[in-house]
Symmetry: C2
Subunit: 193 residues, 2 copies
Amino acid sequence: MPSEKSHRREDLLNASIEYLLENGVADLSLRPLAAKVGSKARLLVYHFGSKDALITDAMLVIRQRVQDNFAALVRDGRGQKPSQLVQDFWAWATSKQHERYLRLFFEVHGLALQNPKQYGRYLEGAFTTWVELMEAILPATLSRAERRALASLAVGTVVGLMLDYLSSGDKKRASDAVAQFATAFDVLLRSKQ
Amino acid sequence: MPSEKSHRREDLLNASIEYLLENGVADLSLRPLAAKVGSKARLLVYHFGSKDALITDAMLVIRQRVQDNFAALVRDGRGQKPSQLVQDFWAWATSKQHERYLRLFFEVHGLALQNPKQYGRYLEGAFTTWVELMEAILPATLSRAERRALASLAVGTVVGLMLDYLSSGDKKRASDAVAQFATAFDVLLRSKQ
DNA sequence: CTTGACATGTAACAATTGTTACATGTAACG
DNA sequence: CGTTACATGTAACAATTGTTACATGTCAAG
């Protein structure tokens, strides 16, 4: 087993992530991937253990990156209403340059649902980590149960509308729906206070 | 090209649908599928044109079935609030026996996003048909734009929370979020009237 | 009986798959 | 020098893939 501080592994992982973002995982095969990242199929298995493990490792890194960005949005927008943060994140995630993150998430997620054994490490926490991040920006005056339900609602709504946008390409319709959610969310939060 | 009224094709399609619901499409290969439905790979290609066309045809039938069921819910619940219909459909779709429909939808959807050429016929309308169904049960007093946004919101929210439930297995949390949505949706509808 | 459309059967193609065994290199450190 | 850990190279395995060419069967309508 290679050491955890190997930077060859890290380099390969970063290059592979780029490849995954461009090509998806459904038709992924190790040899073309290895060729693109300047390596060999043999070595990808050596460094990551298996194809599935490589994909899972890549997805965990990607998730962390996106969540780091969300955390930065929260930090920069301290004091903003949760509904505004949701809209800011929506704008960030649905920008042309970030769409490929969403696409990859949805692809791997769908595969993971049908084959939890293969991608279980990714699936676990795929939603719950987001819900926890969202809970943290909801008013502390709410009960734990209310925060949980409202955070889940916000995450679910944004995720569903992202999927809509990616599928239909109709950004205006999806963004209008997000705006409607924002006002409804504000009302909901006010009513619980 | 085989005629459209061939019932051999129809039988094979129905049997294939059952197989897809149990096994997903990612690891699907024609020979095992053919064996299970009492046919040969050769004939599946003959009847459907290609593997991808078979999957797409199956998905369109499945979507129609689920949407027919939604329409039946609407018919039986005439006069109910939209938020109640949403919750009824949520209960139907997340029941143990129907979960596999959701799983298959999300799997194919993810694949379709990364490869629109392959599953384009399915992707087109995957969301818009649902949004139209939802628009139809919103008050006619709303403006067209409002109906569109609110319908998109309702569909997106339910879809996102379905994905959450399937991923996390936490039905209570997801259902609580749906309930929160229902009350918010009612408020939203009232405010527009 | 014959035409014709639908269905099936047999068999092959050419390419690719993830993974592994075995051996070699490299470079830092004692 | 020699040990050790990490990295790479070569090559093969065994199985499977979607699709196609070509031939045969089935069965109702003319």
